[in-house]
């Protein structure tokens, strides 16, 4: 069954722009990205939108639909009422290139700032031997499709541009946690997580977890465990004393 839906889509370049109203056909089973494509085909041929897989796996079509960060390809039109006006805007945290397309290079910059996986020097590729229970925590974080909606929604940088240089965002703090939990990674990442990548900025309000399309428990399974590891290192005198007495390295247990 078809109906005419009311859409308001943000149009503009380099930050300057406005919300434009459209009335557009919607058919049964369609998602918001389908409607954006119909707008391109029928009313706004120069409307820019980034997309790729249409299956919720590439993380390209991140946008804000009625104010919430969502994947356009995974937001069904059936979740809206027929008389509802649906507002579609680009992600608010990143600079706009055109219309719904944002420049997410902030995230690539942050990714480069994190030292990569570093196995012990005496273990050659092909010699890694790990038990499943030792790596399964990290495996949850590997589900990330890098849609960057967690970084987009995080108020630390969404509402405070000035925090961007010192804050990696949930996606990359999760990457640090993934590596710190990895049995074959030897880099000590706790001090850097707090001092260089801004873990202390996180006030665990869980918006990253709420918007994650892969349902990764970013806050409970990555950020809070990483905060606790930082407490071990920097703020817990008993752990420090225990490390001294039992001659533990204090980095990897």
């Amino acid at each position: 069954m078809s109906y005419k839906a009311k859409f308001r889509v943000w149009r503009g370049e380099g930050g300057e722009g406005r919300l434009e109203d459209f009335t557009v056909e919607v058919n049964e089973g369609e998602v918001v990205l389908d409607i954006i494509h119909r707008l391109q085909a029928t009313q706004a041929p120069d409307l820019a939108v980034r997309w790729n897989c249409k299956a919720g796996k590439c993380g390209s079509c991140s946008m804000e639909i009625n104010g919430k960060p969502r994947l356009g390809c995974m937001t069904r039109m059936s979740t809206f009422t027929e008389d509802e006006t649906i507002t579609v805007t680009p992600m608010r945290t990143f600079p706009v290139i055109k219309d719904l397309v944002t420049d997410v290079s902030f995230n690539y910059q942050k990714a480069r700032e994190i030292p990569s996986f570093t196995p012990p020097a005496d273990v050659k590729p092909g010699e890694y031997r790990m038990q499943q229970i030792d790596v399964e925590r990290s495996q949850e974080f590997r589900k990330c499709i890098e849609c960057f909606m967690c970084n987009n929604v995080c108020h630390v940088i969404r509402d405070h541009e000035e925090n961007k240089p010192g804050f990696a965002g949930p996606r990359f703090l999760m990457r640090i946690a993934e590596l710190d939990m990895h049995p074959y990674d030897v880099v000590d990442r706790k001090d850097a997580a707090q001092e260089e990548h801004g873990l202390g900025y996180c006030n665990i309000t869980k918006c990253c977890t709420e918007v994650c399309p892969e349902h990764i428990k970013i806050t409970d399974n990555a950020l809070i465990p990483m905060k606790e590891r930082v407490v071990d290192r920097k703020y817990d005198p008993l752990v420090w004393l225990g490390n001294k007495i039992f001659k533990r390295s204090g980095s990897k247990s």
Binding site: W10, K68, R92, P183, C202, K234
Partner: protein, 261 residues
């Protein structure tokens, strides 16, 4: 104002949308309900601290347990001891309530709830916060939230004492409604305590090789299951401790006085 403040060139590269949020759902409900519930809890706790009807044999109000001074009724003293002697004459809750209060204040769930409900930082996801600057828990005073695990250690002790109070009530008045209220409360308080993120970290979360520590790994899996319900346990145990405390005080005041009270 710095180069990258709210109206900086970098900020102006983002989509210029005046509205604080374009959300159309009732995003304000969570912070509002949180504010109302927590405020009610704080008001009740403040009243309970100064209310002296905290003991009626064999029930001991949770907000005043343990009693550690000679000013407490003899039956109410923990193991009959009064380490604070007779110089301490204020209500017993003042002595100990800082420990469970500190545990809840620094709890990761409560932090989320009151940062949203009281400090509006942020009030809800994708809703602009009203503050001009933000440093979060990276510096004083909020960096002190990192003491959470020490409050967890104290909360374990308090949880055991509440369980002991419930067992005493069971021994002396097994058919009393108050006994079963105290038992339910002790179970919920201890489940909330054990579901804590710090507990999860201490059991085995800090390890990198679970396989080398099978017992700790098993404990971690159990705590992880509880931890998934930490928010629910935090709220339910908050209501249970408030309800149990109020019930004991109502019995002590004679307001509740039916045969199996």
């Amino acid at each position: 104002m710095t180069q990258t403040a709210a109206d900086s060139p970098a900020r102006r590269q983002r989509a210029q949308i005046k509205e604080r949020t374009l959300r159309t759902d009732q995003w304000w409900r969570y912070p509002l309900v949180t504010f109302i519930i927590f405020t009610a809890f704080l008001v009740y706790a403040t009243w309970a601290i100064f209310d002296m009807d905290y003991f009626v044999s064999p029930y001991h109000a949770p907000f005043a347990s343990p009693c550690l001074a000679t000013s407490c009724p003899e039956e109410a003293r923990l193991f009959g001891l009064a380490p604070f002697g007779d110089w301490y004459t204020w209500p017993p809750g003042i002595l100990i309530l800082g420990l469970p209060a500190g545990f809840r204040f620094t709890c990761y769930y409560y932090r989320k709830a009151y940062y949203r409900g009281f400090w509006l930082s942020p009030p809800a996801c994708a809703v602009g916060e009203p503050h001009r600057t933000y440093t979060g828990e990276s510096r004083f005073p909020l960096i002190l939230q990192n003491v959470h695990r020490y409050f967890f250690y104290a909360a374990i002790v308090i949880g055991l004492i509440l369980a002991y109070d419930a067992v005493l009530a069971l021994v002396h008045k097994p058919a009393g409604l108050g006994t079963w209220i105290l038992i339910a409360n002790a179970i919920l308080i201890n489940l909330y305590t054990l579901s804590c993120h710090s507990c999860r970290h201490i059991t085995a979360g800090r390890l990198t090789h679970f396989s080398r520590h099978p017992v700790r790994y098993k404990a971690w899996t159990v705590v992880s299951k509880l931890n998934a319900k930490h928010q629910e346990l935090a709220l339910v145990s908050m209501f249970s401790v408030m309800g149990a405390d109020l019930y004991v005080r109502l019995v002590a005041k004679g307001i509740v006085s039916f045969p199996f009270a």
